[in-house]
């Protein structure tokens, strides 16, 4: 039915409540964008999906979360993460591995490819999907520090894709990249819809307008409005959403 379902999910970090009774439905094979001002809990929400919230000291999650037929909060997180790829705000390709190895390690660990030939194919496919292949095909054995920030981020996307995930989580992926690379990344994201369900977090309403099929507006830990993107971008029904679109918050 839905790739991700959240019912009354609340997240506490220490004494502070970050997410307040969040209810969401994310359909399969769409680009679902979570929009909101800084500090509204978007990153936390994303990390609940692949249980990376476990790494935060003092984090507590309440409610029900269904991710790809897993009861996400009660399943083994290492098992769950096999089906979910993630790209972070700051590009973080493994610095000790070559470009090729960075992408290959994700495929190897998840049993996506076994022989060298299969691995080569997956690496090429992932880099093509991330729109990075043409730029690195002659230097697959260079290291990530030799790439620009935008290229590193696309490498991270390729790494996530090499897992052949069913769900792709993107945490403000273009926040630290130049505009040209940001556009390339957005194009790549939109083209992935057929193969994965994309959940992206952004604080830029224009970026959301460029890529989203569905949007959820998060403000102060609550979902203020959610629905098809077209509707939200022309006729938002809440004042908070309208303010967000204007860039006032």
């Amino acid at each position: 039915m839905f790739a991700v379902e959240m019912n009354n999910v609340s997240v506490y970090i220490g004494d502070r409540q970050i997410l307040k009774e969040v209810t969401l439905r994310i359909p399969y094979n769409t680009v679902f964008v979570i929009m909101g001002p800084s500090g509204s809990g978007k990153t936390t929400l994303l990390r609940v999906v692949n249980r990376l919230i476990d790494l935060v000291e003092g984090a507590r999650v309440e409610g029900f979360v269904k991710v790809l037929n897993f009861d996400a909060l009660r399943s083994d997180p290492y098992e769950l993460r096999k089906y979910i790829g993630m790209v972070f705000q700051v590009p973080n390709p493994f610095p000790h591995l070559t470009i090729y190895e960075n992408v290959a390690v994700a495929a190897k660990i998840n049993g996506v490819a076994k022989s060298k030939r299969e691995l080569d194919e997956v690496v090429k496919w992932a880099l093509e999907k991330a729109m990075l292949w043409d730029e690195v095909k002659d230097r697959l054995y260079d290291y990530p520090h030799q790439l620009s920030g935008g290229q590193r981020q696309r490498l991270c996307l390729a790494r996530a894709l090499a897992m052949k995930p069913r769900l792709l989580l993107l945490d403000e992926p273009t926040a630290n990249i130049d505009p040209v690379n940001a556009r390339k990344l957005e194009e790549a994201i939109v083209s992935l819809k057929d193969e994965v369900t994309v959940v992206m977090v952004t604080h830029s309403p224009h970026q959301a307008a460029r890529v989203a099929d569905y949007v959820a507006v998060l403000y102060d830990g609550r979902v203020v409005e959610q629905g098809p993107a077209q509707q939200l971008f022309l006729r938002p029904s809440t004042e908070v959403a309208q303010k967000l679109l204007r860039g006032e918050i």
Partner: protein
């Protein structure tokens, strides 16, 4: 108030000022339809011609301003809809002035031997149209379609009148000059009321 909203208010102000000019041109056109003195009518023709030309220029510049606003501020949501509404209403206001100009042209061609004042009931119909446009303009100032009822009523009445004239034309094999002129003018009047209605429709899209 954010820059986007402030600039949008400024554009609204420009549109409203443009629309005020319509009142003037409608009044002159009304006078044109009731006066027979050629010299006076010549003055009116010139005034209508000038105002229409000015409004055309203002419209083009205004549309440009709105496009620049859209490119710069990249509005979303209500402001995006409002941009579209502003451009559309500017066109409607311009068209109203154009129809006045068309009416003046017919009068100038009828002169010196005849004039619109000789055709029966035109002034009455035109006054109805003026009422509709005034209602639309007041709604534009308040940016809310409060008087849409009035405009719709006028539209119904003018439609009726127009249909009657068409009936006159279509029911006989030949048609007198008076009836022909009446038909053309009534059509222009009907279109003026249509544009007043469009203005109301655009305003209601924003609510």
């Amino acid at each position: 108030m954010s820059l986007t909203v402030a600039e949008l208010e400024k554009l609204k102000g420009i549109l409203i000022r443009m629309a005020q000019n319509i009142k003037g041109i409608l009044q002159v056109t009304e006078k044109l339809m009731s006066v027979s003195d050629v010299e006076q009518r010549k003055m009116f023709w010139r005034e209508i011609e000038n105002t229409a030309a000015i409004l055309d220029r203002i419209r083009r510049e205004f549309v440009n301003e709105v496009l620049v606003f859209i490119a710069r501020r990249q509005p979303l949501g209500r402001e995006l809809l409002a941009s579209h509404v502003l451009i559309s209403i500017a066109y409607d206001v311009y068209r109203i002035s154009r129809y006045c100009r068309e009416i003046a042209r017919i009068d100038s061609m009828l002169a010196p031997s005849s004039g619109l004042s000789t055709v029966a009931n035109l002034s009455e119909a035109f006054r109805e149209a003026e009422k509709a446009v005034e209602a639309a303009l007041n709604d534009l100032i308040e940016f809310s379609p409060k008087r849409v009822g009035i405009v719709n009523e006028v539209d119904n009445r003018v439609d009726e009148a127009y249909k009657n004239v068409l009936l006159e034309v279509t029911s006989s094999t030949t048609v007198s000059r008076e009836v022909a002129v009446k038909a053309i003018i009534m059509r222009h009047i009907e279109r003026i009321v249509d544009h007043a209605q469009y203005i109301e429709q655009y305003l209601s899209e924003l609510t």
